[in-house]
Symmetry: D2
Subunit: 283 residues, 4 copies
């Protein structure tokens, strides 16, 4: 049967996946949630019709949103994850025995419930005793936090819809405040290629550099995201992701990863000229 | 008007571009040739319905197929380019005053003629006096060459259809023979992500390592190619693309590039674990 | 969410419907069965990816496959329905108090079960005490029948796949045998517009005229079938659908129909010249 | 190459045709004009992205917009055609030796020029000496006409965009005035199936019955128009299209038609109940 899910990557570009089965559809207080069984990518989660996670390539996103910070500062103990309802980021974090406490703040409980049922591949570690789930607005949650976290990961949806507030100046300011002196912020940073995404990326970068002394951007190949060229922001009060990379320490941990390694860590910060120029335009 | 061009990126994945105008269609002895004016990517060239070049992102491909070798060995004087009928690879090569002679062997003259008319952005330098166009089969052309070139760039179509022979063992053996002792081979290497592309990539790698002592693979973000994650093979008799990189020399040339820089050069060789494993499986 | 079901109406024409939810997917011994909730057509049933029934326009098909014969011979008492797993044809037949016995032979029990659960609009009358369901091959069922039915309705899928045998000469011969002297055969007859459908229609017509003295074809507007221009074959041993139409009798029954009326009955036998020529070509 | 033209038949339904070549694109003062070579339908003309004419099925539309009136009143001598830039309606009219004068009023000269070049199949008779082309607004043209025409054919685009005014009360009133006492108006009447089309049809019907004593609607199978179920309005001061049909006269003319015949003429006025109800709702 020709049943296809289509996502606009730009107003004039679409990306379509053959669907074997529409496993779940629901509407939460915040957004429409769907799980599709696709022929190429396994199960996928969409929110308001946009792909969030696919079983086939989620490892890339979750490796890269997590291990870069962890390999830069192996002493990270307390982590705040904002968004990330599918659980993939938490799954990667729980691989580190040294992490003692993970607060995960997801505004939409229904996303977590649906992922637990349909995406055990990502949601499997949400029951780890170190993980504390908070179903509330990340913006509000963080306001009362001071000097508390070693790492904040902002694993947001796109900067429109429910995730919009996670791209504001106020929010990044509160992230700074909530981090301790060794604090690192990793931010889902959109893409440099299509115009709208690039504007979102520039706005995020511009706002973050207003607070953090060290702000770098690194890139990753995520085939199911628009253009396949995705960025993360690395901001910190103290650590430089290249100079302070503890490659040997990280490699000695013996973690199994399918995308990340310490060479990729370094290489991913080498940005193409056109991306560097987009960043410099707002610095 | 809703007129869209669609390409299958895998049997179960499609990528579609809104078309403003179908500027040219023709059928050569070898393949169907079309030029489309798209809303997002400017003009695109398709061969047998597959995207070869788009005005919007061709700079990425052509930067990376050319400058990595040139920055590794700035003494390159004689180059052979196989395929590359759009002229973009030659355009980049002609930026180097030190290059004295470029043989470009394209089997399909009609591709070159069409690109000269419709894609001046890539085809503009095909009239450079150092460029010698040969409209013949690259496989045959190279058989009679011995110890002649400093650099061979295989800018082929996919390993099926007219470009098929450019992925054979015999062909890579002849490339080795045609190169002098300082010779470098750069090969369009397909992609690691979708199954069929990954098999093509593994076959190419396996065949090349049978001849060359140094064989590396580097990656690049090309949004309009399947998965956006594309690879090139770097093989050489003598030069290592990292250790021998002449970064200062290259930067002193002052060339304008939108993707390539000497940091990206190094970073692009840092491959994700799953790609390293695909390569190791055939080594 | 952009989730669309697409059906090829010809190799070069597609018809697509926005899907709100994929309610059911299953695979029977005979075919793939899916129920989709569409935005325009309500629920639809597809078999092997081809639309069989939509809630929005099924009334057209079921009116016209049933009432034309019933208004021609109001004395019909015993009916055989072949195929028609969705139940819509039986639903229309049960509106006639004068019908005493309906044998419905559907090869695929799973189709009936799925329709009972998901398409009560069509399947609601399958429990009428006059209806006798036989889950077996219509071709075999009919072989042993002689001089038994007043009406046979062949409500088949397309003439390839499980429905293929229902378009053979042997089958139509058995229909003739199974009908009594007043017998009428109504046959789902494909479409005159796209080439493959027209060939199927011509084959069916050619085979039926080999057996029945009276063979007419009538047309109907079914928007969700290829071209929207659909045909039924009316064959009988005695009755002419125009001359013998008992319009007053039928109108006195006071049945509620959304498409059929006795003027449409007559009008539907007035075929365009190009359709008449297709039929004459095989007569 | 997968190049497809897609038209929305409703917001939730699309119809797509494989395109071999985009032969022409242009923008007139009034609308975007495109000619596409399709694999199934031959050349098609689209205005603002909507299909107006295809070589494969235009005969249906042009037969039925013309011959119904001509067979009802064989004495028609002076005809006004509004719209119809492709020339197909005029082509059919010129088959009648008895017609002396045809005024064709098309607002957009570029449509006529493009059709003359790319669609000779329909535009071939625009040079007939009886045909007088007026490139102006049909609404204005008709205001000064009184008691002049035997037949007016309104061959408009849809009731939005440039064709909008051709669906107003003022316009139909002027048509009445421009017709003589034997005058007939034939109006392109949209479709009963999809909601928006049905509303347009009802509005047209309601406005026309305000002026003409005889108002009938007839139907036709046009596969490339939304739902394939299309309607025309027949309004007149004197003639009833059924009672006054001069079947023998028309058949004696010996005209070659692929769709129309005098049986189809009668049959096409037999409307399904749901269409009759739509009309009665506004009568």
């Amino acid at each position: 049967m020709k049943l296809w899910f289509t996502e606009n990557h730009s107003p004039n570009v679409t990306f379509s996946m053959k669907v074997d089965e529409h496993l779940y559809t629901g509407k939460s207080e915040f957004q429409k949630i769907d799980i599709l069984q696709t022929a190429e990518f396994g199960r996928i989660l969409t929110l308001d019709g946009l792909v969030m996670v696919t079983e086939k390539d989620e490892f890339i996103y979750h490796d890269m949103i997590t291990h870069v910070a962890m390999a830069t500062n192996p002493s990270i103990k307390k982590v705040l994850v904002i968004g990330a309802g599918d659980g993939g980021t938490v799954r990667e974090l729980t691989k580190y025995a040294t992490i003692e406490h993970i607060d995960m703040v997801e505004i939409d409980k229904m996303v977590v419930d649906v992922c637990k049922e349909y995406l055990p591949q990502t949601a499997s570690k949400l029951d780890d005793p170190r993980v504390h789930l908070h179903f509330e607005d990340g913006l509000k949650f963080i306001r009362s936090k001071n000097d508390e976290y070693d790492l904040i990961i902002v694993d947001s949806t796109d900067p429109f819809g429910p995730g919009e507030g996670l791209f504001t100046k106020e929010f990044y300011g509160n992230c700074y405040k909530a981090l301790n002196e060794e604090g690192i912020l990793v931010n889902q940073h959109e893409s440099p290629f299509y115009e709208e995404d690039a504007l979102g990326m520039q706005r995020a970068h511009q706002r973050i550099i207003g607070f953090f002394p060290i702000c770098k951007v690194y890139q990753v190949h995520i085939p199911t995201y628009p253009s396949g060229h995705w960025l993360f922001g690395f901001a910190s009060k103290k650590f430089d992701p290249i100079k302070d990379l503890q490659a040997d320490d990280w490699n000695n941990l013996g973690l199994q990863t399918k995308y990340y390694n310490t060479d990729v860590h370094v290489g991913s910060f080498a940005l193409p000229n056109y991306v560097k120029e987009q960043l410099e335009d707002v610095e």
